[in-house]
């Protein structure tokens, strides 16, 4: 695996989310103003697909399901969220968003620290 083209930069406007599939791996792209981020497509809480449930404003994403929130630049949890968003490396090349796909990032749903 290596750097893969996801989609044109112009397809991902600020405060929006776009899902795409590269080599069978679903990823979620976001525009954070000075760059892009790529996450696994689901909420780390209950696997809700964030393209539909994620609300983005001021680089904060909120899942409308149980209102978990994250800093979109760092993936760090905010408010009631208990897990960070995982982030793939991204870069821009010739107007394309490139994502480094070494292996599919998945949330470990079997941990429970409760």
């Amino acid at each position: 695996m290596s750097w893969k083209a996801a989609c044109p930069v112009s397809d991902v406007k600020q405060d929006t989310l776009k899902e795409c599939t590269i080599d069978g791996i679903e990823i979620l792209l976001a525009n954070v103003g000075d760059g892009f981020r790529a996450y696994p497509p689901v909420c780390p809480h209950m696997e809700q697909y964030l393209e539909g449930s994620g609300i983005c404003a001021n680089n904060v994403m909120t899942c409308d399901r149980h209102l978990w929130q994250w800093d979109m630049k760092t993936g760090e949890p905010l408010g009631p969220a208990e897990k960070p968003l995982l982030i793939y490396q991204t870069k821009e090349v010739n107007g394309q968003i490139m994502v480094f796909l070494d292996e599919e990032l998945e949330y470990d749903f079997d941990d429970d620290d409760d």
């Binding site: 809700q48 697909y49 209102l67």
Partner: protein
């Protein structure tokens, strides 16, 4: 049949009866499995079968959208076991509140049946055992001739009761709704499971309340108002209710709402928004203490929410499009912390 859910720190085990939905079996055993609608639409009770055979039940359940067959992903609220099973559940298993009430199966009898408007019915169900529930909770109900449970919030509030009061909106394409509207169903039996739901009211939390309801979504909020009335909560705490319906002819529970307003005139504000017609002249006169408006309920409620602030708990109850229309601006435009918003989305 023995169901096992493995987590790193703990293995949960419970018995499920033949044909019993796995979610209901687990909740009944006191295991706080994840769920929201409990009726197949939301997808919150997703699990993966790692061992054993299951009957998946409702194959077109909307909650299964994007489920992965290769991972044997199922909805616990629709699925029953055909053998001992091992499952994994992709979220924490954690109690919502310390005083969560274990739900259970009941067979109830319809004791009261009253048409409130052209398309809204009120009915009471009597169950043989006395139970308690939190104000704002719901039961899932299934009629004998109709396959599939549907969720309805209780209208009444009474700790330790055999009587559950519900309202239901007419839906000619619905299962239970069509059945119950077809003829007077007094003395007919229903299967029930509950109480369920987390959009609850607890006086010891000492919040002011801001409540927005669309149509029959008012049910759970009536229970909250009733509890608050019983314990004189509104003597010291404010409540604003926005209730959206189509026209003056669709307005029900007017007497009950007026009674709450009359008892606590300084702290209770009740706003009725008609989406499809203006209020009547009598309503606009203000004689009954309620405020009548024309327009979509969320359009009237939002400015009031956004200028609010302070120690307020927000409750949203109604059709999914109304809840969605409120959630987004609440999060985007206001300073309301997300833990100050409660809703159960089922439709």
């Amino acid at each position: 049949m023995l169901i096992e859910i493995k987590k790193k720190s703990q293995t949960y085990q419970f018995e499920a009866n033949a044909g019993e939905k796995l979610l209901y079996a687990g909740l009944r055993a006191g295991i706080p499995l994840p769920f929201e609608c409990a009726t197949g639409t939301c997808g919150s009770c997703k699990a993966r079968v790692t061992q054993g055979e299951v009957d998946e039940g409702w194959s077109e359940a909307p909650g299964k959208e994007r489920f992965k067959v290769v991972k044997r992903e199922i909805l616990m609220c629709q699925c029953s076991a055909q053998s001992d099973c091992s499952l994994t559940v992709p979220t924490k298993i954690v109690a919502f509140r310390d005083d969560d009430i274990n739900p259970d199966h009941h067979i109830g009898v319809i004791t009261q049946y009253e048409k409130l408007t052209e398309d809204v019915l009120r009915f009471n169900v009597e169950i043989p055992t006395s139970i308690s529930f939190h104000a704002g909770q719901f039961f899932v109900l299934q009629a004998p001739e109709v396959n599939g449970f549907r969720a309805y919030s209780m209208v009444n509030y009474s700790p330790g009761t055999n009587e559950l009061e519900f309202i239901i909106k007419q839906n000619p394409h619905g299962g239970l709704s069509k059945w119950i509207f077809d003829s007077d169903r007094t003395q007919e039996k229903l299967e029930l499971f509950g109480p369920l739901g987390h959009a609850t009211f607890h006086p010891d939390e000492s919040h002011d309340l801001f409540m927005i309801a669309g149509g029959s979504g008012i049910a759970g909020l009536m229970s909250i108002l009733e509890y608050g009335r019983q314990v004189n909560y509104f003597k010291n705490r404010k409540v604003s209710l926005f209730f959206g319906i189509r026209t003056p002819a669709d307005f029900f529970f007017a007497e009950r709402l007026r009674a709450v307003k009359a008892k606590f005139p300084d702290t209770v504000s009740i706003n009725i928004a008609f989406s499809n017609a203006p209020p009547t002249a009598e309503q606009l006169s203000g004689n009954d203490g309620l405020i009548y408006l024309q327009g979509m309920v969320h359009e009237h409620a939002l400015p009031a929410v956004l200028e609010g602030g302070g120690n307020v708990m927000h409750y949203l109850a109604g059709p999914a499009p109304m809840v969605d229309a409120l959630i987004r601006p609440l999060i985007l435009n206001s300073k309301i912390p997300v833990h100050r918003v409660r809703y159960d989305k089922f439709s």
